[in-house]
Symmetry: C2
Subunit: 248 residues, 2 copies
């Protein structure tokens, strides 16, 4: 795999787009230098598999650009996505050498990989990487628990609305708004990937997106580009507490 990984010119951590959010975000200059010595970049094309469940994995990594998914597959082919990896997210577990999930690039993807052994040594001897990793893991656990509620109790329509608002929210940070407060973004996932994430079939995903469009809650450009005229109206369809609940 990764047959087409071009060797990237080594990038300086100082210029890294995820410098301030990734597992290395708390590192001092000397720690950063140490990380530079154990890192290498790999890139993948959209659709490529990064690692298969059960494979040996001799590295841990951060997503630099692009989007990857973690998923689990049952013998009969049923598949459930268990994580969506965005830039700065971390893959792999210190102390574990076998991948428990399939990792797949859903867009073109660049990862910053650290050789396992030196990384683990660093975790054991300096605190900043481990501290940041704990924080990130706790965030991921919260996200997974939010997803448990979605998978266990939400209707198909609520699931779609929740996914769209989640993607809109993360895009909102640094993205474009059309006139009038409307939000627009590209879906980085196929209907099938959305189905795998939401515990639905792709037909149901398609139907519910059509229904939201019919109801005027979203507009579609080009199948993948979504326009949300009124974000609050879409939020109301998620089933979540909307009452400005300040539950940090």
């Amino acid at each position: 795999m990764a047959l087409h990984s071009p060797k990237l010119s080594p990038q300086d951590c100082g210029d890294c787009p995820i410098r301030h959010r990734a597992v290395c975000s708390r590192c001092e200059a000397d720690e950063l230098a140490r990380l530079e010595g154990m890192k290498y970049y790999r890139s993948f094309q959209a659709g490529q598999t990064v690692v298969w469940s059960g494979d040996r994995m001799d590295f841990v990594a951060s997503v630099v650009t692009g989007i990857a998914t973690l998923s689990q597959t049952m013998e009969d082919g049923r598949r459930q996505m268990v994580g969506l990896l965005l830039p700065s997210d971390f893959v792999g577990r210190p102390g574990r050498t076998v991948a428990p999930y399939d990792v797949t690039a859903t867009t073109d993807l660049v990862m910053c990989c650290f050789r396992r052994k030196p990384f683990e040594d660093m975790m054991a001897t300096t605190p900043h990487v481990a501290q940041r990793l704990l924080e990130m893991t706790l965030d991921e656990l919260d996200a997974a628990r939010e997803w448990l509620l979605l998978l266990g109790r939400k209707t198909a329509r609520e699931k779609i609305a929740s996914l769209l608002t989640m993607i809109a929210r993360r895009d909102a940070g640094l993205k474009k708004r059309s006139a009038g407060g409307a939000i627009s973004f590209d879906l980085p996932l196929t209907r099938e990937a959305m189905a795998d994430y939401l515990g639905l079939t792709l037909e149901t995903v398609s139907r519910q997106i059509s229904a939201l469009k019919r109801d005027g809650l979203i507009e579609l450009r080009d199948k993948r580009r979504i326009v949300v005229p009124d974000f609050d109206l879409l939020s109301d369809e998620t089933g979540d507490d909307t009452d400005g609940g300040l539950v940090a």
Copy 2:
């Protein structure tokens, strides 16, 4: 709440039943002494709520004995359990003061609570608590992801079989076996709590348990006591890889 918490006589960490598994398991004598200074015990009766979602929480805690659940509730009453806390499991997040979930005692429960501020200070200044907490959080994340597959893709029968094998497995460590390799254990959950865990209704839970009984995969004593004559046969119903998959 906790009106009936008897003040327990302060217990020595050296005698603690979860000494070797909890968040304190890696601590040296001096660290343990420091923890002793910030800890206190609280106990709850079966059914009591430990904290409500949205409540301020000035402590973090370990479950010492008994079982608690983490759950989320939607405005219209739909409820999803997002965690099952067994002895040695940890509740609360360093740096967060507001509980994001309801925590409920499902059996009589004793918790070892640490005052937040001193605990956080200790995390920042000594490595062993943070290291162990990272490990435990990663384990919880794996468990949550396994549950995502269950909620998103498994049938009702597979869900029940998965829950029973999960409980059986954890009990197996230190428990009784009837003659002939049969395993037996008590369900620590009502049908309703099982439903909330599995994303089902209590009627479906009841029907599927009856079906497993009819099919000879389990026997019931007293509604709550389960006997599993052949563990492998029950495992086959979970939908998981059974092929002795050595995926640690």
